[in-house]
């Protein structure tokens, strides 16, 4: 089994807010991240797929295809966007790093033809990242 990781970057804004909580509770839990005007990050996305190496091509996956799928399914939707207002998943879910990783997995997994998705890693900052392995 060989693992291949492709990186991409996207810039997006978001804020943390749960409409079921009171304003005080939102402030207490989310602090400055609760500002409804949002704040931004340069996110780094790492998509790791796994599979056997094809004996003819020497590939685990066609990188051109993987890049296309990542652009179409994730980056076009999230890059240079205000996540809470423009990405359908985040109209009802808080765009925490955890939920972004899960959303990326759910967008990519059904579209990958050759290799299997192993891990989605999302860096919110260089010092904070979340890994999602598709575990329910």
């Amino acid at each position: 089994m060989v693992y291949l990781t492709r990186k991409a970057e996207f810039a997006a804004s978001h804020y943390y807010h749960n409409p079921d909580f009171s304003p005080e509770e939102n402030q207490r839990l989310f602090g400055k991240c609760n500002n409804p005007n949002g704040h931004g990050h340069n996110y780094t996305l790492e998509v790791t797929v796994k599979g056997e190496v094809d004996s003819r091509s020497g590939f685990v996956v066609d990188l051109k295809q993987l890049k296309e799928v990542m652009n179409r399914e994730v980056l076009d939707a999230m890059d240079h966007r205000f996540l809470n207002k423009e990405v359908p998943e985040f109209l009802t879910k808080i765009p925490t790093t955890e939920n972004i990783a899960i959303a990326v997995w759910q967008r990519l997994q059904p579209k990958l033809q050759q290799a299997r998705l192993h891990r989605v890693r999302v860096y919110e900052t260089p010092d904070l990242f979340v890994d999602f392995y598709g575990e329910e």
């Binding site: 602090g31 879910k93 925490t96 955890e98 392995y133 575990e135």
Partner: protein
Amino acid sequence: MKAHLTRRYRFSASHRLHSDRMSAEENAATYGKCNNPHGHGHNYTLEVTVSGHVDDQTGMVCNLVDLDHFVGEEVLSHYHIENLNTLKEFAVTVPTTENLCIQIFEIMQRGFSQAHLERVRLEETMMNSFEYTGGQADAMRR
């Protein structure tokens, strides 16, 4: 949905690698330049990985403020700008980064219960890193 969250921290400390159970020659052969009696230092990078279900209400595995507070109070304030050899946990145990990894893991496991502790990783330099996932057999150098 279960996710793994990793947070990075930094601290600077000095140490000397030396074992009283070895002769001077054995220490020099085992530890080389790291056996310098005056010690030497590192800017350590610490990664703490926790896991858990993503809370439906908050979208989080655990509250980062709580994690940062615990690591700040119990780990960074204990090790940052210290000489590791002067700390009681390294009075007898050699303060290799393997052993430091284990110490930090045990501090986290004893005191932080908001999420499951998966791994403590330490970068000693840009070239050496160590991970510990709990259990003696799992300590490894990469």
